[in-house]
């Protein structure tokens, strides 16, 4: 295992079999990759591509058919590796008959944490995920977003070195998704390593340092996000303080033609819908009572 590698797999293969040992499905085929310390690593792929299987193999929830996986220097089947891991499952599979405090207390006890430390850490995390006022409610009464928040809190109860997040923004509204992404970046800035798999490509693009793309259980692409997404056939220039006049358009076109290129389009850039949404919501908070009126009601 390389010095700065937190996770390393070698020809990791998972074949699901039936009761009689007959092969049912090859979920993962000879997957080899590594995750380095302090990075946010994204696992991408369509449904059934093997993302969740990979995560479950890393966590020891499934046993590999072939190959090996090492997490924090230990075999993925070694329970002791879990001492430094935090895991947020996709559906936040927690005990719905417990409240938030009890949930964190329970998982804290599984780490054999001292009572005082456990209580202090639980309260910090409950505040951090914004559930202070709901900490006495049982999880059955929580919305999906709240369950995701308490799920994240339980994943961080042991102050882990490696955080594994399965669809962390799934079921969250844009505000919640942004909060989650900010938190993931904050965790990375604290020196933790994060592995996340997500369907929301914009999330991955926003925050991941490196990614692996899986399809049909096989690794299709692997590397730094900016390198993978770089389109060397196109050139982009951004400028401010200009009005996009017809003369400017013509001049730019002439310049591109002079250097042998072709202008595809010239125009104002658009922001992302997420940024626009967040801007509107923030404005509504700062100016209460303001609302949008459709054109026909303005008069």
């Amino acid at each position: 295992m390389a010095g700065d590698a937190v996770v390393e797999t070698q020809k990791l293969t998972k074949i699901y079999r039936d009761f009689w040992g007959r092969q049912k499905k090859t979920a993962l085929r000879a997957l080899t990759f590594e995750v380095r310390r302090g990075e946010i690593f994204g696992l991408l792929g369509p449904n059934g591509s093997g993302k969740t299987t990979t995560i479950k193999l890393l966590l020891g929830l499934l046993f590999p058919t072939e190959g090996e996986a090492f997490v924090l220097g230990k075999s993925s089947n070694d329970v002791r590796k879990n001492e430094k891991i935090g895991y947020l499952p996709e559906e936040s599979y927690l005990y719905r008959f417990l409240n938030a405090e009890e949930t964190l207390d329970f998982y804290g006890r599984l780490f054999d944490m001292d009572g005082e430390v456990r209580r202090k850490r639980s309260m910090e995390l409950i505040e951090k995920v914004g559930l202070k006022n709901d900490r006495k409610r049982i999880l059955k009464e929580y919305s999906k977003g709240m369950r995701q928040r308490i799920g994240l809190a339980q994943a961080l109860i042991n102050d882990p070195e490696l955080v594994i997040l399965d669809e962390p923004t799934s079921g969250l509204d844009p505000l919640g998704a942004r909060w989650m992404k900010d938190l993931i970046v904050e965790l990375r800035n604290q020196g933790k390593t994060i592995i996340m798999c997500s369907h929301r490509l914009e999330d991955v693009q926003d925050i991941c340092d490196r990614i692996a793309i899986l399809s049909n259980g096989e690794l299709q692409a692997y590397g730094r996000v900016d390198e993978l997404l770089q389109d060397t056939r196109r050139v982009e220039m951004r400028a401010t303080g200009l009005e996009l006049s017809e003369n400017l358009r013509n001049d730019l076109q002439q310049l591109v033609l002079k250097y042998g290129g072709k202008v595809d389009s010239v125009g104002h850039p658009t922001t992302t819908l997420e940024d626009y949404f967040l801007k509107i919501v923030e404005e509504s908070s700062s100016r209460p009572g303001r609302r949008f009126l459709p054109p026909e009601t303005k008069n």
């Binding site: 699901y16 040992g21 479950k56 966590l59 020891g60 929830l61 499934l62 046993f63 590999p64 058919t65 072939e66 090996e68 075999s75 089947n77 070694d78 329970v79 002791r80 879990n82 001492e83 891991i85 895991y87 499952p89 559906e91 599979y93 927690l94 005990y95 008959f97 417990l98 009890e102 329970f106 998982y107 006890r109 599984l110 780490f111 054999d112 339980q154 042991n158």
Partner: protein
């Protein structure tokens, strides 16, 4: 006064600590070791070739070492198992009509644990048992190797966390409240049951234990069986398994949590039902059963029976009763030199008896009459007590001196009341080590008592020892003889006992209440058994299947003796196919079937079936051992010794199950359940 009926009888001897040593322990090791060895063999045959090289290499060195040592030692056990399987196959092939006479297999039982031995167990040579026991230990060591090598990684804190979770889960499941409510409904069953006034306590105790037991046991098994599969289905177990918690801790924690929960419910239910049982009790019922008699049992042997020409026998005469629980003592004239006698030799007495003036002995005998005798009068029986100070021939001196002392007392003009008589008897008992009750009328199955002077017992002899003459010396011996030549007195070891408790105590209600709660410990042990088995089975089966298999084991456990009879061909009517043939042809169960090809096929199938049953017989728990209802019903104390031994038996039964659960959960791909 109405006659007293308070009788405790034991088809099987009650357990004591000596049952846990010697052959019973060896048998346990060989049985559990046998299963363990077979499991190791199966793994080497099937599991090892399918294991990944990386996984084998990752096995810790200590575990590897323990496994190899254990597997090597278990080779003789494996060879023996192969021989037994060949024997079963041969028996099935060669089975003929003799099988219906139970001639195929020799059955023997070890007193106490109720284990039925597959083949004449204790009668094989010592070297054989030594090799087989070492083999069994080897198998156990190999199977336990991953647990032992990981022992220092288990944490009580994590186990308690899982237990608390299971406890909370159980509390917050409404099924528990529903079942608990049903118990209260069942407690009022007494309103609809017509009982004799003297049987009130017996009936109420039965209703209370039965309703609490059956409902709580079902609830416990249901909650425990459904829990883990539910966790796997909801995938909450996945989150738990990603923490540094050993799967063994999850298994033990689950068991502990549900046991805690059900213990709490049982405590509350027992307390409430005790109030129900003890309310407004009929005085007759109080006199019979509202007690906690502490009996001291002696060993019984018979002397001078006609059938054994003056020798001694463990069993009395057989008068032809179908139930052969009791032996019978023939009557003889009081003047006969060596009359037939039943001798109760008490191996040990508590020192508390030394503080008393008298010792109360109670007995319940069966009368077998060969002539009508005197109508409405009991059969005359003589009781004689012997202490360590007794010397041969002291009887005559005792009788003479007793008469003189009584006469002298009366001559002084004093009233010879019971206290004065007891003083005389104590003085003489100390001097001669002898006391006799010349004639006492005994009635059929009525509980009566004899007051023995405490002077019979000596401070320095509270347990049996070997005297200077080389003969055994007992703290106290009671000889019983029947004085009517045409009558027989039937008795078993447990029909005569000394009372270690103080009969004059006014704390009967308190002792009964405590005894009632002790009786609930039997229910608790059944709960522990069912919860553990249900949790273990739920690591592999679905919740419903785990629940049903657990209930089946529980029910089969109550019929274990019958299952054993079938397994050893000791029952009337043969195995399943043979009895089906008899049913179809309307043949009587006891008739011998002809040697036809169809019958031969049935015999062979049945013999094979019996062989398989003999192998798996020990999977069924001996549930009768965990039932203390009869003690409470009849007003007899449940000793802590009995509770302790039964608990050890429970642990002995459950340990292999827990180890099985360890492997099932360890090999489980938690995430593949979806």
């Amino acid at each position: 006064m109405t006659p007293l009926f308070a009788l405790l009888f034991f088809e099987k001897d009650p357990l004591n600590w000596s049952n846990l040593t010697g052959w019973s322990l060896i048998y346990y090791i060989q049985t559990v070791g046998g299963f363990a060895t077979f499991a190791v063999f199966l793994w080497l045959l099937i599991g090892y070739p399918r294991s990944r090289r990386e996984d084998i290499q990752a096995i810790p060195a200590l575990q590897r070492f323990l496994f190899f040592v254990g597997a090597f030692l278990s080779i003789p056990m494996l060879l023996w198992q192969a021989a037994v399987l060949v024997e079963i196959a041969l028996q099935a092939v060669t089975a003929g009509p003799q099988a219906q006479e139970g001639g195929g297999t020799v059955a023997a039982s070890i007193p106490g644990l109720g284990f039925i031995i597959r083949t004449a167990f204790p009668f094989r040579p010592i070297w054989f048992h030594t090799v087989l026991t070492i083999g069994g230990l080897g198998g156990i060591l190999a199977v336990l190797s991953p647990i032992i090598s990981n022992l220092f990684h288990y944490r009580l804190g994590r186990l308690r966390a899982v237990a608390r979770l299971a406890f909370k889960e159980g509390i917050r499941q409404r099924v528990l409240y529903a079942f608990s409510g049903l118990v209260f409904v069942a407690l009022f069953a007494g309103w609809f049951v017509n009982t004799k006034p003297s049987d009130e306590i017996r009936t109420y105790v039965y209703i209370a234990y039965f309703s609490i037991g059956s409902l709580l046991l079902v609830t416990g098994a249901l909650l425990a069986g459904m829990s883990l599969p539910g966790d796997m289905r909801r995938q909450s177990l996945q989150t738990v398994v990603t923490k540094p918690v050993e799967r063994f801790e999850i298994l033990l924690g689950r068991i502990a949590g549900f046991v805690q929960l059900m213990t709490l419910v049982l405590l509350v239910m027992s307390g409430l039902s005790l109030l129900y049982v003890m309310r407004d009790i009929n005085p007759e019922a109080s006199r019979e059963s509202l007690k906690a008699r502490v009996p001291i049992y002696g060993n019984l042997r018979f002397l001078n029976l006609p059938s054994n020409s003056g020798g001694t026998e463990a069993r009395g005469e057989n008068v032809g009763r179908e139930w052969d629980y009791r032996g019978y003592l023939p009557g003889s004239r009081a003047t006969r030199a060596n009359p037939p006698q039943a001798v109760f030799e008490f191996q040990e007495i508590p020192t508390s008896l030394l503080q008393r003036d008298s010792i109360r002995a109670e007995f319940t005998f069966d009368i077998y009459r060969t002539t009508k005798g005197n109508e409405n009068q009991g059969v005359a029986v003589r009781f004689a007590g012997f202490g360590p100070n007794y010397t041969v021939g002291a009887e005559e001196a005792w009788r003479k001196e007793r008469k003189e002392m009584r006469d002298a007392f009366i001559a002084k003009g004093q009233e010879l009341d019971a206290k004065a008589e007891l003083n005389i008897d104590n003085e003489l008992a100390k001097k001669h080590g002898y006391y006799e009750m010349p004639s006492l009328p005994v009635f059929d199955y009525q509980t009566a008592s004899v007051i023995l002077p405490a002077g019979l017992i000596a401070k320095d002899v509270t347990s049996a020892s070997v005297g200077k003459s080389g003969k055994p010396v007992f703290p106290i011996v009671v000889k019983v003889s029947c004085l009517e030549p045409s009558q027989y007195i039937g008795m078993a070891r447990y029909d005569f006992y000394l009372r270690a408790d103080d009969d004059a105590s006014r704390l009967d209600r308190l002792w009964f209440g405590l005894n009632y709660l002790k009786g609930a410990i039997g229910l608790w042990m059944q709960l522990v058994l069912l919860v553990t088995v249900a949790v273990v089975l739920s690591t592999y089966f679905s919740g419903v299947v785990a629940f049903l298999v657990t209930l089946k084991l529980w029910v089969m456990g109550w019929f274990r003796e019958f299952v054993a009879q079938i397994a050893f061909g000791a029952n009337v009517g043969g195995g399943p196919l043979e009895s089906m043939l008899r049913l179809v042809r309307r043949d009587a169960p006891a008739t011998k079937l002809e040697d036809t090809p169809v019958n031969q096929a049935a015999f062979r199938f049945d013999e094979f079936y019996r062989g398989a049953m003999r192998i798996f017989l020990d999977l069924f728990p001996d549930m009768e051992r965990f039932d203390f209802t009869i003690y409470v019903q009849e007003g007899f104390d449940i000793s802590w010794g009995l509770i302790g031994v039964t608990f050890v038996l429970l642990i002995g039964y459950l340990t292999p199950w827990i180890v099985l659960g360890f492997y099932l959960l360890r090999w489980k791909e938690v995430a593949s359940a979806n």
